[in-house]
């Protein structure tokens, strides 16, 4: 063949490769888009959002009102369901002596007198204490993510009742649930005593604390003058519910205890003091709460003041567990108390004052006017509805009460309802995307996918278009389906449907369901695939219980260690599956492994592994196991792990001299370790010494300098020099160089091979190419290093040590997969995925919102500036995931000699491995969707399951983006084209 035809053939091949590559990216992007839409729909249904305004209300001078009561005693009995406090007929089918007719004092006092009033108190979901306290004090409907507030569950910045008390110089004493301390800490007096609230096994500590606090400050009348407001929050009833359920004798004891305390309080009541007893939510028949069932929502409110003369009506019907008893919304408490205490109604309030508090209709009308003013003020400042017809209709309502009802309904629609249709749509789309990924990536042979990819993309584009047109048409004309809020959601829905159909049609054009099932069984027929499946299933099932989710860090490390141990077993004992495979494939030729050939080459065709390869494999397995154990010692414990976990990722450890010494050792340490892995196949040539020996080292040293400056700032308080400018200079240089400079350098194609003419081999007279066998892998790894440099900068010192261990673990996993011939197997990406999770936890993270290292956002800039702050937090939080999503291509490329496989084949294999990683992450994401929906009533849903679902979604998004656009889109095609052009025959 002449050179002319060769080069033309080459260019034809390259152009074909280019077009296939583009189609692959389009296919993967459309699958990614489908998953993003799934996540968006699920999040829309599950996460209720609300914008919080920080405005603080003041009393309108035109509508002045004074306090009716100067002091208040407020007792919250957690989970005080309404039927606990009213008399229940013993013949009623639902009568239960453990929780009925024990706490009688409230009804007794309010029954025939006008001193006190007892009401059914209706909570808004979610019925968890934190959300309820926010609702009870702000008068608003709080949601999981209050956009605009900080995430830490810390002090409520929003205008609220306690803040108003504080601003009006009222002294607030508090005892009980420490959620109060977290929410209102600065507004409470120093005498307050918060108690640990999450230990539901402890039934008495909080209650006894509250009772003794009341004994000291209330029953002891001399001390009543020290405060204006006394607040107690008892948890006993709630904890009995969580621990035993309501149907237990301890419930009776707890209720009697409350009853006794209340009688004591009432018997010594003062004039001019308002007494309030309430529950924050109810409990369901199992004793849990958090959801929106009637039992969980119905709580109790009791108002009392000496000679109060509440204007009561006759709607207090206690028959049939009080099902027709007069109700009051929880948010109505805020305006009621504000008016009674002469405070301005908090700015974000949506509630309406209780009719009973006004002594005559005139006063009531006045109160209503005050409230309407506040609501209209909120409506206009927050601009919550926008300038729509809805708003005009609302403002034109004459009756104040009607106005409030309508406004509340509108806000509820906006904020406080799980949208099950959206949740189900999200879950369905995610399931479909998983099935599609599975079929496209694993079930259809990768060669065939290469041929079909054009069909896929064509179908997806056409069908998305058609589906968009039809759905938009239906939506615009008929406004159906109704759960789609606007045309954007409608087109997202339509696009997702289009993508699903567009991928399914070419598949079912060629294959039947039966065939696909058979393929699935066949795919899972070998040992390592089953191990991988086991790992995936175990990891996905972790979300079925809060305990497993809490301990995910240990479990993931355990699974990764298990992989290392299985590999070690394989290398030590060589179980029969290898030897038989080798005999069958006729690879009897046992090549001498010590003959100077590189291991990768000599083993590439001969199974049973040679002796040297076994030793090497054993060594890599041990490195993997050992380093997994070492790195998992670095942990920032979850709150829920409690006494079983000692945090090591602390400020003092991070900035200790030992850690900084470790970081200094890293500077030459990482390059020399990587050099070791390169040397195995003599790839440490040409570009590698420059990249690894110089650029990486310099960048690591600069990061070290940056972190030592921070350490100096941290350890020496009275430092005269201003290090800020130095810090920013260094960090910006490192980030710019690694993320931009080095990647541009990489685009030029840094080969790691060398022509060796001085051949020591006596027989051959030809020149050899050193590093030939790993030409792909060595060059690709340089790209991974670029990101490694940046991620190092954005990790705290202990995190850097962990990332160093990760480098070794990563390369060891890849070596193990190469030695065991698992380049195509599912286990490789799964092991890497596990590594990413293990390293996520050992770089000082947990799947909770408070553990996000927000300070990493301020490494490049002083203020929040869009890409830089976010870049820092993303690189810090998802660093391990980014590294793994990049290096999953190495499973194919590592020790892949050139000119063996067609460019398309290599690309197809990379896509297959990347896809497996995505499948793994999708399974986790889907599992978290399903279980967070299942546990939406769980006590811990907002603390454990919901953050885990957010984390799973973000992981999937990050992995998708990195895999599709960097691994496959940017790096693979460039690398494969370059090398196949260079080494083509």
């Amino acid at each position: 063949m002449g050179p002319q035809s060769r080069s033309s053939r080459m260019s034809y091949r390259i152009s074909r490769f280019k077009s296939t590559h583009t189609l692959y990216i389009l296919l993967l992007s459309s699958l990614a888009l489908l998953q993003f839409i799934a996540i968006a729909f699920f999040a829309k249904g599950f996460l209720l959002t609300r914008t919080v305004l920080d405005n603080v209300a003041e009393i309108d001078p035109n509508l002045k009102y004074g306090p009716k009561y100067d002091k208040m005693v407020l007792l919250i009995v957690d989970a005080l369901r309404f039927d606990f406090v009213i008399p229940v007929d013993e013949n009623h089918p639902k009568y239960n002596p453990y929780y009925h007719n024990n706490l009688k004092v409230l009804h007794e006092t309010s029954h025939n007198s006008t001193d006190s009033v007892l009401l059914k108190f209706l909570a808004d979901p979610p019925t968890t204490t934190l959300q309820r306290l926010k609702g009870l004090t702000t008068g608003s409907l709080p949601t999981f993510i209050d956009a605009g507030s900080n995430f830490n569950g810390d002090v409520i910045e929003e205008d609220n009742l306690i803040k108003q008390l504080y601003l009006h110089d009222k002294k607030v004493f508090f005892a009980g649930d420490d959620t109060w301390d977290a929410l209102f800490g600065p507004y409470l007096a120093a005498e307050s005593v918060p108690y640990e609230s999450l230990n539901v096994w402890d039934l008495d500590t909080v209650d006894n604390g509250v009772i003794s606090f009341f004994e000291e400050y209330y029953v002891n009348e001399q001390r009543r003058s020290e405060y204006d407001v006394l607040i107690g929050h008892m948890l006993g009833v709630d904890h009995v519910g969580h621990k035993y359920g309501p149907n237990h004798f301890t419930m009776r004891e707890k209720q009697l205890q409350v009853d006794e305390l209340l009688r004591k309080i009432i018997s010594t009541a003062d004039d001019n003091t308002l007494y309030v007893v309430m529950g924050d939510h109810g409990m369901d028949h199992t004793g849990n709460h958090g959801g929106d069932s009637q039992d969980e929502l119905e709580s109790t409110l009791w108002l009392y003041a000496k000679d109060a003369n509440w204007s009561k009506d006759d709607l207090y019907n206690t028959t049939n567990l009080g099902s027709s008893y007069k109700t009051m919304n929880q948010i109505d408490l805020v305006p009621t108390l504000s008016l009674l205490l002469g405070l301005p109604i908090p700015f974000n309030n949506l509630g309406w004052p209780l009719d009973e508090i006004a002594k005559d209709p005139e006063e009531l009308a006045f109160y209503h006017e005050v409230c309407r003013n506040q609501l209209e003020n909120y409506l206009s400042v927050s601009n919550i509805i926008g300038a729509t017809a809805k708003r005009d209709a609302l403002v034109s309502v004459e009756s104040h009460t009607e106005f409030q009802k309508m406004f509340l309904e509108i806000c509820k629609d906006l904020w406080a309802r799980f949208d099950f249709t959206s949740i189900c749509v999200g879950i369905a789309f995610m399931t479909f995307s998983l099935i599609l990924l599975l079929i496209v990536i694993k079930l259809i042979p990768s060669i065939v996918v290469g041929q079909m990819v054009g069909d896929f993309v064509g179908c997806v584009v056409v069908l998305s278009g058609i589906s968009n047109v039809s759905f938009q048409g239906i939506y615009q004309v008929l406004h159906q389906p109704a759960f789609l809020d606007n045309y954007i959601w409608c087109s997202a829905f339509a696009t997702a449907v289009g993508i699903i159909l567009g991928v399914l049609i070419p598949i079912f054009d060629r294959y039947s369901v039966q065939w696909l099932c058979l393929r699935l069984i066949e795919e899972l027929s070998d040992y390592w695939s089953r191990i991988a499946l086991l790992f995936i299933v175990i990891h996905a099932l972790l979300f079925t219980s809060n305990s497993f989710t809490i301990w995910e860090d240990r479990i993931v490390a355990f699974l990764l260690t298990s992989f290392g141990m299985l590999a070690l077993y394989e290398f030590t004992f060589l179980p029969q599956r290898h030897s038989t495979a080798a005999i069958l494939s006729g690879a009897g030729e046992k090549q001498g492994t010590l003959s100077g050939k590189s291991v990768g080459e000599s083993n590439s065709d001969s199974l049973p592994l040679g002796r040297f390869a076994r030793i090497l494999g054993g060594y890599h397995s041990i490195v993997l196991v050992l380093f997994t154990r070492l790195s998992s010692m670095i942990t920032i414990c979850r709150e829920e792990q409690g006494e079983y976990c000692t945090p090591t990722f602390t400020v003092s450890n991070n900035y200790s001299y030992y850690t900084m010494l470790g970081c200094l050792i890293l500077v030459p340490g990482i390059p020399s370790c990587i050099k070791g892995y390169f040397n195995v196949c003599s790839s440490y040539q040409a570009a590698a010494p420059i990249w690894i020996g110089f650029i990486l080292k310099a960048s690591l040293f600069a990061s070290f300098l940056y972190w030592s400056l921070l350490t100096i700032e941290n350890r020496f308080e009275d430092l005269d020099w201003d290090l800020t400018i130095w810090k920013y200079t260094i960090s910006r240089i490192v980030a710019g160089m690694s993320l931009i400079g080095c990647n541009i350098g990489w685009m030029k194609g840094p080969l790691c091979v060398k022509l060796n003419i001085h051949n020591t081999d006596m027989k051959s007279q030809q020149a050899t190419i050193l590093g030939y066998s790993n030409v792909y892998g060595s060059q690709y790894f340089l790209l991974v290093l670029n990101f490694l440099m940046a991620i190092m900068l954005f990790n705290k010192p202990l995190g850097q040590l962990s990332i160093f261990l990760m480098c070794n673990q990563l390369l060891s996993i890849i070596e193990i997969c190469d030695l065991l011939k698992l380049k195509e197997s599912v286990i490789g990406p799964v092991a890497l995925g596990l590594l990413a999770y293990q390293q996520f936890f050992s770089t000082g993270h947990q799947a909770t919102i408070p553990s996000v290292q927000w300070d990493m956002g301020f490494i490049l800039t002083e203020k929040i500036i869009f890409p830089w702050t976010h870049l820092g937090i993303v690189l810090n939080t998802f660093g391990p995931f980014i590294l793994v999503a990049l290096s999953v291509a190495l499973l194919t490329l590592w020790k892949q000699p050139p000119a063996v496989l067609q460019p398309q084949t290599i690309l197809a294999r990379i896509v297959s491995n990347c896809g497996t990683l995505l499948i793994y992450n999708s399974v986790l994401c889907l599992s978290s969707f399903v279980w967070v929906t299942h546990f939406r009533r769980h006590l811990m849903v907002w603390k454990i399951f919901c953050p885990r679902f957010l984390f799973a979604s973000l992981c999937l998004i990050v992995s998708q983006l990195v895999v599709t656009f960097i691994t496959i889109g940017f790096a693979s095609s460039r690398l494969i084209r370059q090398i196949s052009q260079l080494f083509s025959k």
Binding site: W201, F548, I555, M565, A587, A899
Partner: protein, 217 residues
């Protein structure tokens, strides 16, 4: 280069066939019907091999001993020796005959188990057991695991080391431990969740099943 590599691709395709063949091989080993494939040493299929004493010990441990790990170990070692002498050794076929108990080896195997507990401890720690605190408990667990495999250790010493036939007994204990880890994170606050009780139970169960069905595999 290229043709060879194509073979590699083929290999993966035909992998499931290999598996069958491997299984077939294993089965013929297990049957031990006197053909050439029969391993020189194997354990007969016999119901008398079922180690009921392990269940008894476990029952005592969970019900009456207040989770006395050390006491369980003291009880277990003699019963394991007795099990070896009266049951396991009688059902082990060397070549084509049975051998009498080699008393010296009985004691050597005990020492070997003791030594084996050190690498076993290392593995337990590598899997995530706390290293500094609770080291004594971890070591007790390692000792339990090692002495549970004691009959197999004896047999390994009694024949050629290269015979891989007894691996399954070790593996069964490991799998028992591995599976029992599932209860550790649960927040039930039970006594038996304390380290290393669940793993000991797992190891005993694994060993019970391993020794009971070992002859049939």
């Amino acid at each position: 280069m290229p043709p060879k590599n194509r073979k590699t691709v083929k290999k993966t395709v035909s992998f499931s066939d290999d598996q069958n063949l491997t299984n077939a091989n294993i089965h013929s080993h297990g049957r031990g019907l006197g053909d050439d494939d029969t391993p020189p040493v194997y354990v007969r299929k016999s119901l008398s091999l079922i180690p009921f004493h392990l269940l008894g010990l476990l029952f005592w441990f969970l019900k009456y001993s207040d989770f006395n790990t050390l006491g369980l170990l003291y009880l277990m070692i003699p019963t394991q020796v007795a099990y070896l002498i009266f049951r396991f050794n009688k059902n082990t076929i060397y070549g084509k005959k049975r051998l009498r108990v080699n008393w010296l080896l009985v004691f050597i195997a005990l020492g070997a188990c003791l030594l084996l507990s050190v690498p076993c401890l290392a593995i337990i720690v590598l899997f995530g057991a706390p290293f500094v605190e609770l080291l004594r408990e971890s070591w007790l667990l390692a000792l339990h695991c090692c002495f549970l495999t004691y009959p197999a250790v004896y047999d390994v010493f009694n024949c050629n080391f290269k015979v891989g036939y007894f691996k399954k007994y070790f593996i069964s204990v490991v799998i028992g431990c591995w599976l029992s880890c599932i209860v550790i994170p649960l927040d039930w606050d039970r006594d038996w969740q304390a380290w290393p009780v669940p793993l000991i139970v797992g190891a005993y169960m694994g060993s019970f099943i391993g020794f009971a069905v070992g002859g049939y595999i």
